[in-house]
Symmetry: C2
Subunit: 427 residues, 2 copies
């Protein structure tokens, strides 16, 4: 199967940040050419997609989310964190079932597809159901089993985390990771067990780090070390680590993270909405840390728009540091695409439009008023466009969304099922 996406404005997120008119050739799910039409190989495509002058970009990569939480969207807003968690989110989560998680995840898959998100990284429970939803929709995913032992159930969870690596073996686009939840829910001993398991499985570790000021300071009080310092001392950072949030990491923490190639998943919308603070992303970039961006769960966002997070990631740094030159549009795009792939250990596979990578692609229409005049389509993509401009989303050469419709299921059925299961959570 050969697919040609022609008549586009390519935003490649490759090493040169190439932007310009061009086409993308996809053969057997893999990009074989991305560049000017005049230089494209002459092949007869089985399928030609006319981008109509619109933007063709790498699909967005959401590096930290909890997809079943779409069911809790709008359920508990404007509340203090502990009230939100203890009186609303946790009681609802205690009622979750495998089937609820599947349909909540399917709802998220619909939202991702319509928003040009081709790959996500999750941390939650009922991971088999999440993997099934990702597989059924065609998205690429790295799914971490949440491990915490604050309630004594750590070893069981660790076993489940290990078993999940076997469970995803049948799925082409899905990989497993281990998700020790956070310093305040995981004992040092359990972190060491996670480290050993991850080493054995050659796995990535996905962990919440310094999301709130109190969490950061209480860790120092408990251990005489910051969360990052603790993870380093426990040898966890010898493994590939993905650190979500990092709102309160110190400059020293950042040096440690850079040294150990820890990737950051910044969640600016969620950090604002939960009152966690404003992460110092520009400083992290200065330190050479790989920073990606993410939506977090829909209960604290309240949507899964990576275009909104991409924009917000840059804008916050400009405002916070009073420097409009920080995180220019091309950097924001990289944060939402190739840096995400790097965080997930998938940068040789996805995250940019380059020959040899999987065809994980989003096509955006540029006919809307917000794209006029056509001064600079990359800037428009980052500062003016929106999810509503997404015309087509492709993963591994398969179209999962086109012209307002998902291709992998009945959207009304998915909405109805997700709503039914959601209602049971709040009973």
């Amino acid at each position: 199967m050969k697919t040609l996406i022609r008549n586009g404005f390519l935003v490649t997120a490759d090493a040169n940040d190439t932007c310009g008119d061009g086409c993308v050739l996809v053969e057997g799910g893999t990009i074989t050419y991305a560049g000017p039409e005049s230089l494209a190989p002459q092949v007869s495509a089985d399928r030609v997609i006319d981008a109509q002058g619109g933007v063709v970009a790498p699909g967005f990569i959401d590096t930290h989310t909890h997809v079943p939480m779409t069911m809790m969207r709008g359920y508990a807003d404007d509340l203090a964190l502990m009230d939100w968690l203890q009186n609303h989110i946790w009681p609802a989560e205690a009622r979750l079932t495998e089937e609820a998680v599947y349909w909540g995840s399917m709802l998220a898959m619909c939202e991702f597809a319509a928003a040009g998100v081709t790959c996500f990284s999750d941390m939650y429970n009922f991971n088999e159901a999440i993997a099934r939803a990702a597989h059924d929709s065609g998205l690429r995913a790295l799914i971490a089993t949440a491990v915490l032992d604050i309630d004594g159930g750590g070893d069981d969870r660790l076993k489940r985390a290990a078993a999940f690596f076997d469970a995803v073996k049948g799925y082409d686009r899905i990989e497993a990771a281990i998700g020790p939840h956070a310093e305040y829910t995981v004992s040092p001993e359990m972190f060491e067990k996670v480290r050993d398991l991850a080493g054995k499985l050659n796995a990535r570790i996905h962990v919440h780090v310094s999301e709130t000021q109190s969490e950061h300071e209480e860790c120092i009080a408990r251990h005489g070390k910051t969360p990052i310092g603790l993870l380093e001392s426990l040898g966890v950072l010898e493994l590939p680590v993905m650190a979500a949030h990092c709102v309160w990491v110190s400059d020293d923490d950042m040096d440690i993270m850079a040294r150990h190639h820890v990737s950051v998943m910044t969640c600016p919308g969620s950090n604002l909405k939960l009152g966690s603070g404003i992460p110092r992303v520009s400083r992290m970039l200065e330190k050479g840390i790989n920073v990606s961006c993410a939506t977090d769960g829909a209960a604290s966002n309240n949507n899964l728009s990576m275009m909104e997070e991409m924009t917000l990631t840059g804008l916050l740094q400009k405002g916070l540091n009073q420097d409009p030159s920080l995180i220019p549009a091309k950097t924001a795009l990289r944060i939402a695409t190739i840096n995400g792939a790097e965080a997930l250990g998938m940068s040789s596979m996805t995250g940019s439009l380059e020959a040899g990578k999987k065809a994980d692609i989003v096509v955006l229409g540029t006919d809307g008023v917000r794209w006029c005049p056509r001064t600079n389509l990359l800037n428009h993509l980052v500062y003016s466009g929106s999810d509503a401009d997404v015309k087509l989303t492709m993963v591994g050469g398969d179209i999962i969304y086109e012209d307002g419709h998902i291709t992998f299921g009945d959207i009304e059925e998915i909405k109805e099922k997700a709503s039914q299961y959601a209602a049971e959570l709040f009973a």
Copy 2:
């Protein structure tokens, strides 16, 4: 002409912040009923609009913008403020013509209509052209003539500002204001002349205040007073004043503003993008100041989405103050609607769904994935929805946008003309 909008979820922004299923009856451009269908007067409507369970809300009010700047969208992003202004924006503006401003403004009117914005407050030049565009599209507007005398042209501009009050008399929905640009471009003597003219004309004064830290501090160095302090000492605050930005106003400034009923137009997106900083909106609200929100011009935003500004206004305060309970959804909606009407001196006319007010209404579809599950439609409106959900925009009972189409012109012609004139600015 009687219009019934039925089967909606009303978000009224009235004194009680009423939310719930209901209908709105419009007679002769005015709302005569907004409430539950069971209590609605029995009239035979000439036109019935089925909201299909979607949200029916007051149209958004953009209280500080420069509509012709849509032509400069994406033209100069990620630049330091003075580079942006001196090397890009001002040279482009020097090439503006009456016709360019008209078509650039028409482009903005299309964007407003599609985004549920029914009323805007502008400060720019070539105001007759802006007024003509607002009139031709049917939007409500308060248009201030920019007055500055840093180049010695102050008295001429003041004359033009006065003449503009006569120019808008033929326009039903358009009012004039006077726009002394800012402390750093307007002399104290000219502020006094503006004050006197505004007093004579019973006019509102629209002014940029403490947008950047340097502007705020240089004013103190020059006058021994903050911009707000200076305006108070010059008697300007005896008039109704609308103050844009206010990123750097002090607590004392806020006390002065509250005492003089100065309204604030906060522009969070523009303030971030230009690196101006993060305004202390929650503190202003605590002080009892009327705060509205606004997009600023599209060259520093880069779109005219009031839904994005509404969301951002609240999120920034939660994050900045580490308190997620600040600016709950209902407050954010008021900031984007009724508070805007109050700022413009139009709160008896627009800004809420109430009998006696003009029918300035937006209807949003809630079928999208981002509105599922239907836990709380007000929260979804503020935290999850987007401009793309706008199905219908009505001003004074006239539909200006419906199902993806503007009703007041040919969108392709407007885009083409605006693009042509934009190209001339950057020649």
